[in-house]
Symmetry: C2
Subunit: 470 residues, 2 copies
């Protein structure tokens, strides 16, 4: 056993012997109902912030404080005692999704409960356990060795579940404080529980809402039916016009800038074990989408255009013979590298305006912010270290995968701080983290602690200069 291996074993041993304490602190964290979207949970947000301020102090970080940029504050702490070593911004978030609908939970959402080697609680998987694992690992190093292998700046965000609305402003405001060589994210769920993977790319997103208006008011379907336009038919025809008969996207300019698929990438994807038939059987539906692509290509390498909400007219019980004069839809897109939210939104809006028939008008809602897609360079030194740590922890080299979802944080960090992010979370996509009965696997908890020790040790062998290439 080498010197660093022996040292790591001591850190790990400390973590293992303190398992009960680590879990009880995690439960304390989870009991704060830190739902950022709902002002009714303001106490829970404050409770989680205070808990983190206390934890960062307790594990030995310095300059512990709230960072504020108009929204929910982020919690910050640092340890910068490793000159010449790289500096990592360790990212996580303490805000959680709303627990509703309450009645679908088998146990109280804010009282962590262990069943079948899983901890059930709102926010346990997204992102309290993964963030807590990172903090506890830092604590074990500092307690055991009095130092960390690298410099770290910890930032635990409070707005991830509400779209990281002020994270960009916060990065600009505290640009010097947050300056680092790369981000290690404790957020960003792993793809599958049955396959070691490391996620190297995510899709971007963009979206807007629009309204179709026909006559000046709702009209009676008897008195006017047959001679006037119906906003619901028009919005249906507009949405239908988004797609080709074969299932592709028919919006002019939609693929502008999107990087073409490389044969090499498609081959790599085809090698990933993925059972399409089981995938659709579990969802109880059939394949759908752009012709000429596999399911994984559609999910990871191609942009999408989806209506997420659609409404108009009478939607109550029974029937009302109205010709609605207004119809509404919410639309979002997922972007691939090369596309920008602004251009894509513009193309879809132009498509709608071009297809809007006489007698109707379209108005657009306030645009929501968007994120570009994110792609980690394949030779990034932090990626190499993460793959090494995962291989050592899981006994098997992880496969590089992409994700179809969006982590706005990765795009914000790249744009505002100019650094890359490696996702090193130990939650898994199947843990119902935006649904009732969110859970986190106890086995992931132990894997996570081991992997973080190995990762920190591995990057400790790197030099600051490795991250400063031209």
């Amino acid at each position: 056993m080498s010197y660093t291996e022996t040292k790591s074993a001591l850190v790990l041993k400390r973590l293992e012997s303190d398992r009960k304490g680590i879990l009880s602190r995690l439960y304390e964290f989870v009991r704060h109902p830190s739902v950022g979207a709902d002002p009714a949970y303001a106490d829970g947000m404050r409770g989680a912030q205070d808990f983190l301020l206390g934890r960062l102090e307790a594990i030995g970080l310095r300059n512990v404080r709230r960072l504020e940029a108009g929204g929910h504050p982020a919690i910050y702490g640092e340890w910068l005692g490793a000159p010449g070593k790289p500096t990592f911004l360790i990212y996580g978030h303490y805000d959680v999704q709303p627990p509703d609908p309450f009645e679908k939970w088998s146990s109280s959402p804010f009282e962590p409960t262990v069943r079948n080697e899983r901890i059930y609680a709102r926010g346990i998987s997204d992102d309290k356990a993964p963030s807590h694992i990172a903090l506890e690992t830092l604590g074990a190093f500092l307690q055991e060795e009095g130092s960390l292998p690298v410099n770290v700046k910890v930032m635990i965000e409070g707005e991830e579940e509400t779209g990281s609305a002020t994270l960009g402003a916060l990065c600009r405001r505290y640009a010097d404080l947050l300056a680092a060589d790369a981000v290690i994210s404790a957020d960003g769920a792993r793809w599958r529980a049955d396959l070691p993977t490391v996620t190297v790319a995510s899709r971007g997103n963009a979206g807007f809402e629009f309204t179709v208006t026909t006559a000046c008011k709702d009209l009676h379907s008897g008195r006017y039916g047959g001679a006037v336009p119906n906003a619901l038919h028009i919005i249906a025809e507009l949405i239908a016009s988004f797609r080709t008969r074969e299932g592709g996207i028919a919006v002019e300019g939609f693929f502008d800038g999107a990087e073409p698929l490389h044969e090499q990438e498609r081959t790599a994807l085809a090698r990933i074990p993925f059972d399409e038939e089981a995938f659709y059987a579990e969802l109880q539906t059939a394949p759908s989408g752009e012709p000429g692509y596999t399911a994984l290509e559609r999910l990871w390498l191609r942009p999408t255009l989806e209506v997420n909400g659609l409404w108009g007219g009478y939607t109550g019980a029974g029937s009302k013979t109205v010709i609605p004069n207004e119809a509404h839809a919410k639309v979002t897109m997922r972007l691939v590298p090369g596309q920008t939210p602004e251009h894509l939104v513009e193309m879809v809006k132009s498509h709608l305006l071009r297809h809007c028939p006489d007698g109707a008008t379209i108005t657009f809602g306030k645009p929501r912010g968007g994120s570009r897609a994110y792609l980690l360079p394949s030779d990034h030194p932090l990626l190499a270290a993460a793959e090494h740590a995962l291989t050592e922890t899981l006994g098997k080299a992880p496969i590089r995968v992409r994700m179809g979802a969006t982590l706005p944080m990765t795009d914000i960090m790249a744009r505002e701080l100019g650094i890359h992010t490696v996702m090193f979370s130990f939650s898994t996509s199947d843990e119902d983290y935006h649904a009732p009965n969110e859970f986190f696997r106890l086995s992931s908890f132990d894997d996570g602690l081991r992997a973080w020790v190995k990762l920190l040790r591995r990057v400790g062998e790197q030099r600051e200069a490795d991250y400063r290439r031209p």
Copy 2:
């Protein structure tokens, strides 16, 4: 002045001298908030029933009673002292639309208020003033002459605004009591305030609700987007498939049985003064519908297929990146003579099932009842009498028109009692009767009293045998 003219003048004089009393009784009727759709208004329904029972007794009808068939009762009374003369079922309704939204009313909906020669109140136009006019006319005859020119059976319904749900059952249950030669309806608004018309036809209706289901649950648009069907896109494509590119109806079998348009009918329609440009300008929209037809033909002579409500996915504030697994729509049709609700519903359902793509299923809601279109024979003796009475009252012969809306009552009377209905209402289509600030013109009130006197006198010159042709 002939003998009957002199007699009519005396009845009219009595009505004129009692104008204040007639109006005050109308206001008493209107103050009962008889909203049949909402159980919270049960007292108002009972109040209106008691008011009518009292009125029918007071004007001298016999056998005054409630008729019940499981829903809100109808109020009945009769006078059968004219042997050899025809017997008319006089129809009206005492239930009214809900007054909501309250805040849009300029005066309290259940406190009649006169402004600009109009009475404002919920139910005043639909159908309390028109029903009241009929009753007061009967009363004036009975007071002045001790008899009526014809036999009458008065039935004031309590379920018109909720689709006359038990009217069919009530007609079957009281078939002998209600037997008559024809129906004079005090319901069925006149087309326009600026043109004397008599409505000789109405379209039928039918409808159903359906749901499109794709996956077993809502799916995250990042994790699944691009590879799974979206129920909102599918329902939009299904609705878009209802219509041809030119605006016609593309559903196979939709026009089965519909009588073709006769050139003569089109010519008659073309002669009706109707300003299409003004019609669309007022509605702030543009013409729409089946190619090759005028607006009036589309409104009166052609069947329609309209989506009245459409909903699915996230419809709250902000955005939620969900791929909805369910979408819902409410559909209604308007029928022309020759079509049946059952066949039309079947054709549209078959169309939906044929166009439903793989990975999705369609389920249908409980069917709602439907009505066939109604067409009064052009040589019906009651129609001739009504035209005569209107010509005398308004100084101008009325034009025969159709209506695009549906009066289920006409179809029910034809089917259950085997008799035709002439609409002899003095409300007008523009009186906002399903909207806030419903009103009734005081001029229509005076016209109505005069016209009812003339109508009753005119049919009094007819014989029972005129209505009993093979």
